[in-house]
């Protein structure tokens, strides 16, 4: 605590003499935490190592060093899993605390190397056959197993994105809109809705049957975005399908609104408000444009007026919802 505040509080009679002395002693000698610095270094290290080794395999494919690199990756991977397994608590369906940040990233490195390994075997020799999209199916199974066995949120996120990749779309935050050609193929939109439904069910089941209940947020988080963006793209791009995708969006928003209220999670309420705002705005302006013939320039003015009024309304709704869940400031 700052010295001036200690004096002020002591003068106001809010601190006992021992507390004042202890606060003054503490303000001189504070522990300095290197937690985030080390975590960032570990993250970058694992990123470089897995990326670099993955590239090394293919760069040296016809040389003698090739076998050695493969063997090295296999050994390193085995060492990671051995270490991770040695230092983890026995498996339960409850949440287990990880020993430390270092262990978290050993597990992650092990998973990434293992997948580089089997992707290589698959690509080179088609060890697992070619049906079922096995290039992404097998890594997905491995990732889900590791996520549950080691209780690791990062590996779970990888597993979920792999599940979506197996079905044909990319759902990581940066790629959700840029890599999927939602406007050109209706199949992709329906896949997104399907993935959203499956992930929602997975999140619901985790909580309901108490199987790693703390994973449910991660499932829901991917699900709400994939489903809502899929439904919105359906509304925007599929002519004549408005009556199909609008109710789908409304149903999802209703589900996630009540979920947010039940979990006391402001995050989900915010997401429903934002997606509802986009959907409603599209519908209103769509209607106005349909009435273009009779309104002419009025369409532009009415649209701008609608956007002003609706953004004020959105702000008021956010304030209201925040008050409703006041005790809960986090996710």
């Amino acid at each position: 605590m700052r010295k001036n505040f200690i004096h002020q509080l002591a003068d106001e009679g809010l601190l006992s003499e021992t507390e004042r002395l202890r606060l003054e002693a503490q303000s001189g000698s504070r522990l300095f935490s290197l937690h985030w610095e080390l975590k960032t270094m570990l993250y970058l290290g694992v990123l470089l190592l897995s990326g670099g080794l993955g590239t090394l395999i293919y760069k040296n494919i016809d040389t003698i060093g090739h076998q050695a690199i493969l063997a090295g990756i296999g050994l390193l991977c085995a060492a990671c899993f051995w270490y991770a397994n040695k230092h983890t608590a026995p498996f339960t369906w409850e949440k287990t605390e990880s020993p430390n940040a270092w262990w978290d990233y050993v597990v992650l490195l092990g998973c990434l190397l293992f997948i580089s390994f089997i992707t290589y075997l698959q690509g080179q020799y088609e060890v697992f056959g070619t049906r079922l999209g096995s290039a992404t199916f097998i890594p997905m199974v491995v990732l889900f197993f590791c996520a549950y066995y080691f209780d690791h949120l990062g590996v779970l996120s990888l597993a979920i994105t792999n599940f979506a990749a197996w079905l044909g779309i990319a759902i990581t935050p940066m790629h959700l809109l840029s890599s999927n050609a939602f406007g050109t193929e209706r199949r992709l939109i329906d896949t997104a809705l399907l993935i959203g439904l499956v992930l929602t069910a997975a999140g619901f089941a985790s909580g309901r049957f108490n199987r790693k209940a703390h994973f449910s947020f991660t499932y829901y988080n991917f699900a709400v975005h994939v489903f809502c963006i899929g439904a919105l793209c359906g509304m925007f791009f599929e002519d004549g399908m408005l009556l199909l995708y609008t109710p789908a969006l409304a149903a999802a928003l209703a589900f996630y609104y009540f979920l947010g209220v039940r979990l006391r999670s402001f995050y989900f309420l915010l997401m429903t408000v934002i997606y509802a705002y986009i959907g409603l705005g599209y519908l209103v302006i769509f209607m106005l444009i349909l009435a273009m013939d009779s309104l002419e320039m009025g369409v532009l003015y009415l649209s701008i007026l609608y956007l002003i009024v609706s953004s004020i309304a959105m702000a008021r709704i956010l304030i209201h919802l925040n008050r409703k869940l006041k005790s809960h400031a986090d996710l």
């Binding site: 992650l108 007026l305 304030i319 996710l331």
Partner: protein, 382 residues
């Protein structure tokens, strides 16, 4: 000086520090509660999501109102569009001042939105108005504008913009008015950055400036960054060619190479010595810049070998630090100071999924790339 109610901001700081002291076991629960009862905080400071939502809504409102008036006054507005935006910027700033004196907001999104919209309008109008004048005068005006906003709102982003504009005054001013500037410019910027760093560090320790803590953190990061960039071989080389029309290798190459490689470790050492997160973080970031500088001139080894060696180095260092600090030593610990937050863990998971995708993603052709995501993400730094 601030547009906010500073007595309330003090109460917020006291409450936060009381919570920390209670968590550290220095004061008892009852004391913390009495402190909080005696120092109530009543300003509206909602969580980050409401803040973003309110900020976007505010910005949208001002933008749309501007657009509506622009349409209504089309003929006049087009002829003097700079003045139009200047007037709207001043109006938005006036709204900010009035709103904050009446409404009890602090970092609610409304104030952030009004601050940024009005600052961008006024700055944009100034840039457009002064198109044909000397850049020095423009940057002086922009720096003055940013300083005023910083003093009134203590917004860290605007403070940083102000620092960048201030450095621009030095760069353009030296080129225009000092004859030997081409050789002195790096040292001038380095000297001014170092002086500003010491000044901001001293100011930050002063209790009077407690409400500008975050601003000063950001400004100190900015000064350390410009100090390094001004001495970096690559930057000196490129800036010499672009700004001053110099050709070939810059003079005193050995000096700039030494600075490029030596400054990041010096920052890290400074941060650890003083237990100061700002130079430590900057030093770690700038190591990537130093590596980039070396690789821009000397291809020491193929990229994947460099990645593997870099990865082994980073993982190795963090392993030894984790082992060494199993029990806190010399005032350092690897434990997180506050309890691990759920939000941070979720974000970490998302970043891992985004950057470490080991299998081919949909939309990419299947390539023998295993780890295409990892390689692609990191190659910018090496």
């Amino acid at each position: 000086m601030l547009i906010y109610n500073t007595a309330e901001l003090d109460n917020a700081l006291i409450r936060q520090e009381a919570d920390d002291a209670k968590a550290a076991g220095v004061i008892v629960q009852g004391t913390a509660e009495r402190i909080k009862a005696a120092h109530p905080y009543t300003l509206y400071s909602p969580n980050i999501f409401v803040r973003i939502g309110l900020g976007l809504a505010t910005v949208l409102c001002v933008l749309l109102a501007t657009g509506l008036f622009f349409l209504l006054m089309m003929d006049g507005a087009i002829r003097s569009i700079e003045i139009f935006f200047l007037v709207w910027g001043v109006l938005a700033y006036g709204t900010l001042e009035m709103w904050m004196s009446g409404h009890r907001h602090y970092r609610s999104g409304v104030d952030d939105g009004l601050t940024w919209v009005s600052a961008v309008y006024i700055a944009g109008a100034l840039v457009a108005l002064m198109e044909n004048d000397s850049p020095v005068l423009l940057f002086i005006l922009l720096t003055a504008l940013a300083s005023w906003y910083t003093v009134r709102t203590s917004d860290p982003g605007i403070a940083l913009c102000g620092w960048v504009c201030g450095i621009m005054i030095v760069v353009y001013g030296a080129i225009a008015y000092i004859p030997g500037a081409r050789y002195l410019l790096p040292f001038l910027v380095m000297g001014i950055s170092a002086g500003a760093y010491l000044l901001f560090t001293r100011i930050q320790r002063n209790f009077r400036f407690r409400h500008y803590d975050l601003c000063l953190d950001v400004l100190r990061l900015g000064t350390l960054a410009t100090l390094y960039l001004a001495g970096n071989y690559y930057v000196v080389h490129i800036a010499g060619m672009e700004l001053l029309g110099m050709e070939g290798e810059p003079p005193l190459p050995w000096l700039f190479w030494t600075l490029s490689i030596a400054i990041p470790p010096v920052y890290i050492w400074m941060g650890l010595l003083r237990k100061d997160r700002i130079p430590l973080a900057m030093g770690l970031i700038l190591i990537a810049m130093a590596v980039f500088t070396i690789r821009a001139y000397h291809a020491v080894m193929p990229i994947e070998t460099a990645m593997v060696l870099g990865g082994i180095f980073l993982v190795g260092v963090s392993y030894f630090v984790h082992r060494y600090l199993k029990k806190p030593k010399h005032g350092f610990t690897t434990e997180a100071m506050h309890t691990r937050s759920f939000g941070a863990q979720q974000l970490e998971g998302l970043i891992i999924a985004e950057t470490m995708q080991p299998t081919p993603q949909a939309g990419e052709a299947f390539q023998f790339g295993g780890g295409s995501g990892g390689g692609g993400g990191a190659s910018n730094e090496f």
